[in-house]
Symmetry: C2
Subunit: 457 residues, 2 copies
């Protein structure tokens, strides 16, 4: 089959979902066009997973020193040069952009820089440089990503009140920072700037921090953040957040309390850019169809209309890069006829890399569930790192592991192991049979897997 | 069954193997006596795994700062207080000793502090405080551990030439340190004292460092150690190592070169304390029966004679704490009649926690084997940690994973995951199906698992 005869796949969005969809489609023999309006790599590479991990990793010595200094075992000072750290980040991202572009080219993917202006049956209209190109397709994969949500009175204004992207690009740490949103983004960024010497205030309207996690995980999050000196508060309603006349971020809470800071970050959720002209007319449907908060609804094969797939953040299933990659790979294979069954990826791990670290896969324990658990305080590695808060917990269903979570030192590094165990629904006997290396932080997970089973209150 | 009627199990040695054997035996209803001449926890807890990890973890900020400082992203200085670090170590070890003793007591294990002076049929003679107690047994588990090897001219003298225990107890870092032995102990201790400002010279007679590992792993070990400023040399024969008249350690190499240092560590291998009077007469046999280098030979049920088991280091199978635990647990269950098949623990991981970190499970790739691999330099986490040397490698047999190794940043934390994959002999399709969290150092293992298969030269 020559390229002109090949089935034509158009992928919109070059984040993890779209990029992997394009490469997978090309490997499967499709004629692939990838449309991206901005930078390759999407939110993950440019304003999400990678920049946050870069900032956490480059400043890790600050946290390691602080933990040991509390015990008076180590003294000294560590001074990160944020401008240099950002310059290196730019260099690394730029190298990654080049490598991605080369790989697309080598795979025969046509890359079009432009904005999806509209859709018609089997044609995508892409606007670029004042012109519109009509790109025909047999199958379309929308990998549109997501945008930060806002609400009236709490909205980035480009002055002191900002979204994630500019906050991750600061070349000088602000003296103080307000963060609205106690999810993964808020928790990681609070740790980053805390390490850089910023006075951080974090608030969330939800009754607890990390509201998507096990409630006992949330307790450890609050405990560790406050112990580290972050003013972290849950159950706090924000009336307004604006830039005041002095250029400061000024947050007014429901009770009347006012907090000011040099800068503020709004990180209160994500929604999909669903306003694509023609998308609904092609049969696409939307979930939670409220203004600015909708996602693209998908069926069990990730299609929102015949031949039109939506993958990654924009379908609202799991807003994580590796979920997008997994979905993009499946959708391209499905479009190529290599998959026919429903999308069934197994469990998708979620990790937080700040302080504390969190890992969660599969079911979260509910009252009445059978659980077993172990604390990090008994782990000699956690003791040596002087960071012993937290625990690992197993949720059992019918004698098999249905969910694993851990919060504490190095918990994020347990994510893959935990995913394998949950994916295979290990029995207690399987957990006993695996020889864990000693010593290791994983041994807290082992202690939980082998711990006394009890019913969760 | 009352205790007086229960089968009597005597366990000699309270390291990981003996301790777990005693607890397992008690849980299985045996009347257990545990004999230990020194401290609970054996080499692992007192002079091995745990103290090295304590010293590595407490000094980690030094390494984290150094990595970022090379890139001029972070400045400052980190000053570990070795005396304070050792004081905390003592406190942690002491707390662990108490916790272990309490757990033994709660389990109904009788703990006898004394030395195994001799064996006769169904009786152990234990010397303690000038007296000898005769302890009858139906089954005996020898968990005798191992001792450091030496050879003529290269032997700790208690002055400047030392074994592991005193080197791990230094309260002041020596200005310079010679280490003979390029295995896990030598590599970890060289990194510990390098971080503490000591000038380290490490030599090994083997043609490469980490001689038990994949030869390409050894190359990375040499590269990283030398880059860090450690004078690490393989293929070097030591003629003699003595304390000279100035109290310095003086090492003379085969070519005539002389190296002096404030202190020296001899870490050139381990052997079992096999010289137990009466042991051979009971039918025990010995492997590699050369003076000072023998181990106790065991059959497929870990018995060296009927009813006499040898577990852990002293049987020479795998000199690692978690191997000892696994064997001790099996032997106690076998003695209690709960196991009848051969000891078959699945793969035993081996990890190095210094610089670089190493993880290895299962087969090591040989020329002609099918392998796939991936470098850490492409991993965004390794990039962010400014520590990108190394790689992960898979050895495939009949389309299934038979071995995994990795050397590089965070490699030791991959040990459990790798063990699960090797234990289950994953196919490529299984590797593809597992969703790894992004970003993560594990993704280098994933890239190796999904990498191009080729034949190893």
């Amino acid at each position: 089959m020559t390229s002109s005869q090949a089935k034509r796949l158009v992928v919109v969005g070059a984040g993890p979902g779209g990029y992997d969809a394009a490469l997978t489609g090309a490997a499967a023999g499709l004629a692939v066009t990838l449309v991206e309006r901005g930078k390759l790599g999407g939110t993950c590479l440019n304003w999400g997973c990678i920049p946050t991990k870069h900032l956490l990793a480059t400043t890790q010595a600050v946290a390691a020193l602080a933990d040991q200094a509390k015990q008076k075992l180590v003294a000294g000072e560590v001074r990160p040069d944020l401008a240099a750290i950002q310059a290196k980040k730019k260099k690394l991202l730029s190298a990654t952009h080049s490598a991605m572009a080369k790989r697309l080219e080598a795979a025969g993917v046509r890359l079009v820089t432009g904005n999806l202006a509209g859709l018609e049956q089997n044609v995508a209209h892409v606007a670029a440089g004042g012109k519109t190109e009509d790109i025909p397709f047999d199958a379309l994969i929308l990998a549109l990503g997501s945008r930060a949500a806002a609400f009236p009175g709490v909205k980035p204004d480009g002055k002191a009140v900002l979204g994630v992207a500019p906050v991750l690009d600061f070349t000088e740490a602000p003296e103080s920072l307000i963060i609205i949103g106690g999810g993964a983004i808020g928790i990681e960024i609070s740790e980053i700037y805390h390490r850089l010497g910023t006075k951080v205030t974090l608030v969330d309207a939800a009754p607890r921090l990390a509201p998507a996690e096990d409630p006992d995980v949330s307790k450890v999050v609050a405990q560790v953040m406050r112990r580290n000196g972050i003013d972290a508060r849950a159950g706090v309603k924000v009336e307004s957040l604006v830039t005041d006349e002095d250029g400061l971020a000024r947050m007014t809470l429901a009770g009347g309390e006012v907090v000011t800071a040099a800068k503020a970050l709004v990180a209160i959720g994500r929604f999909a850019p669903t306003a694509v002209p023609g998308l609904a007319e092609l049969g696409a449907t939307f979930a939670n169809p409220s203004p600015n908060r909708a996602f693209i609804a998908t069926d069990e094969t990730l299609q929102t209309a015949p031949g039109i797939y939506a993958v990654g953040d924009c379908n609202g299933r799991v807003l994580l890069a590796h979920a997008a990659s997994s979905q993009g790979t499946y959708a391209a294979r499905h479009a190529a006829g290599l998959e026919s069954g429903p999308y069934a990826p197994g469990p998708i791990p979620g990790c937080y890399y700040g302080a504390p670290e969190i890992m969660r896969v599969g079911a979260i324990a509910q009252p009445g569930d059978t659980v077993s658990e172990a604390p990090f305080v008994a782990n000699p590695m956690a003791q040596a790192y002087a960071d012993t808060a937290g625990f690992a917990r197993v949720t059992w269903k019918d004698g098999k592991v249905a969910g694993l979570t851990a919060v504490g030192h190095g918990a994020s590094a347990m994510g893959t192991l935990a995913t394998a165990i949950v994916a295979q629904s290990w029995t207690r006997a399987q957990c006993e049979a695996l020889v864990f290396p000693h010593p290791g932080l994983d041994e807290t997970l082992r202690a939980a897997l082998l711990g006394e089973m009890k019913t969760k209150d």
